[in-house]
């Protein structure tokens, strides 16, 4: 397993429309890659492809060592995806939602509590029904569900949307913690100054393809923190 994500000429189709038109992308362990680009460029589809939700129509794609052409189901339990929708049940409380989503991946009780605490939901908000929350509070809850999953690869679609300043700080801190614990993050965002500061690399998605833009603020690719990826350029994935 050389790269966490390796896409080579990946094409994905929604109906008959090619949302991804030959995307090439390589992400190594410990990176925080920011996807930017106009609406409809294919950012969401790229994330959904990596999560094993969108079938690969042509090309090659490997995520966490799983070939998405043949078994995109097996990658799912190791990837955490936060889409546009929060995936919350409106009639359940915050704590119940996080507990449910934690339980789907066998997260322990303490992990769930830690996730709630991390997003500041452990106290008063925990017992509030989700339909009563504001958009930002729902986003926090969704993030807590994601944290409870302890995924190896985090795929975040506009995670900052609706969050207040404190929430954004908590999110950024969480993401940094996650990468230092060995996770890899791909995040799509329009909030360039905030997400750009966080990212180790920025790529642009345009017309269903990917253009490398720049390295992040440290100006060089970060040292890989995972033990498996010490030889960065050695061998092709797949």
């Amino acid at each position: 397993m050389d790269h966490v994500v390796h896409l080579s000429n990946a094409v994905a189709v929604l109906g008959q429309f090619p949302v991804l038109a030959g995307a090439n992308l390589t992400v190594d362990r410990g990176e925080i890659v920011l996807l930017q680009g106009p609406n409809g460029a294919g950012k969401t589809s790229l994330l959904r492809l990596c999560a094993g939700l969108l079938p690969l129509a042509r090309g090659e794609a490997t995520v966490l060592g799983c070939d998405l052409r043949t078994n995109r189901e097996s990658v799912r339990s190791r990837v955490g995806m936060l889409g546009h929708a929060n995936g919350l049940y409106a009639d359940l409380t915050v704590a119940e939602n996080v507990r449910f989503w934690g339980a789907t991946v066998r997260a322990s009780r303490s992990e769930v509590t830690a996730a709630l605490t991390r997003m500041g939901l452990a106290q008063r908000l925990g017992d509030v029904v989700v339909s009563r929350l504001s958009a930002g509070q729902k986003r926090r809850t969704a993030l807590a569900c994601l944290i409870a999953r302890r995924a190896e690869l985090w795929l975040l679609d506009e995670p900052h949307a609706g969050l207040d300043a404190a929430g954004r700080d908590e999110l950024d801190a969480t993401l940094r913690e996650a990468t230092s614990a060995g996770a890899t993050i791909v995040v799509a965002s329009h909030e360039l100054e905030r997400a750009g500061a966080l990212a180790t690399r920025v790529v642009e998605v345009v017309g269903g393809q990917i253009r490398e833009l720049s390295s992040g603020p440290e100006s060089s690719r970060p040292e890989s923190t995972g033990p498996e990826s010490t030889g960065p350029e050695s061998g092709e994935a797949n």
Binding site: A51, G52, L53, L54, P55, E73, S74, R76, S77, R78, V79, G80, M81, G83, H84, A85, N86, G87, L88, Y89, A90, D91, L92, E96, F100, W101, A103, T104, V105, V129, R149
Partner: protein, 225 residues
């Protein structure tokens, strides 16, 4: 798989306990359907003769509503995607949602049966209780299984409101026939003997077994993109 099933069933039932959609909307709907049947048939004798059939017919109509509701919960905020993305076993989703649906259906059927006693003067008898309970359990399981199966298929697509009845009603015809005849036998409607009911329960059991296995296998491919 069973762990996931229990998790989902508990979640669905908790949502129902909070939102009370079934209690406050589906039960009244089913009750008004029962009253409407009496209007349409316009004869006390006829109504009491066909009472078991009307109970199950009202159950089928309510099933369509319940299934729509069960999957509206999932699709409202992208939870279907989230479940798939979490790598949750589709067989577990299928069984879990079917279990929750079965509980709701069972409550509904009991209420409908009681309303048949009140409105249609259907007679309950002690000798038929075992048959009646077995019939209720078997028919409920069968309806919940196929309802979940085709509900899952129709959930993600355009025109789901019209596709679901088209797919679901032909499939549940054996349940309607079997459950009605067995209930008639249990209640003694039209002079039916209790013993006449058991072959029909056998039919229901075969139905449950076939669609239990078939649905568990088929649900994954049906909800996949």
């Amino acid at each position: 798989m069973l762990r996931v099933a229990r998790l989902l069933a508990a979640k669905d039932l908790r949502i129902e306990a909070r939102s009370r959609i079934v209690t406050n909307q589906v039960l009244p709907f089913a009750a008004i359907v029962m009253v409407m049947f009496a209007f349409a048939l316009n004869s006390d004798a006829v109504v009491s003769r066909v009472a078991p059939g009307l109970v199950w017919l009202a159950t089928l109509f309510s099933l369509l509503v319940l299934v729509q509701r069960a999957f509206a919960i999932e699709s409202a905020d992208g939870a279907t995607d989230a479940l798939r993305a979490a790598g949750v076993d589709p067989a577990g989703i299928f069984l879990g949602k079917a279990m929750a649906l079965a509980v709701q259906l069972a409550v509904l059927e009991i209420v409908l049966l009681l309303s048949a006693v009140v409105l249609y003067r259907a007679q309950l008898r002690l000798s038929g209780v075992v048959l009646l309970v077995t019939t209720l359990v078997a028919a409920t399981c069968g309806l919940a299984l196929v309802g979940t199966l085709y509900g899952g298929l129709a959930a993600g697509v355009r025109g789901r409101e019209t596709l679901l009845p088209l797919l679901l009603l032909p499939v549940v015809a054996p349940v309607l026939i079997g459950a009605t005849r067995a209930t008639e036998a249990a209640l003694g409607t039209g002079g039916a003997a209790v013993a006449d009911g058991w072959p029909w329960v056998g039919l229901l059991a075969v139905f449950v077994a076939l669609f239990g296995v078939g649905g568990t296998l088929a649900f994954g491919p049906l909800i996949e993109e």
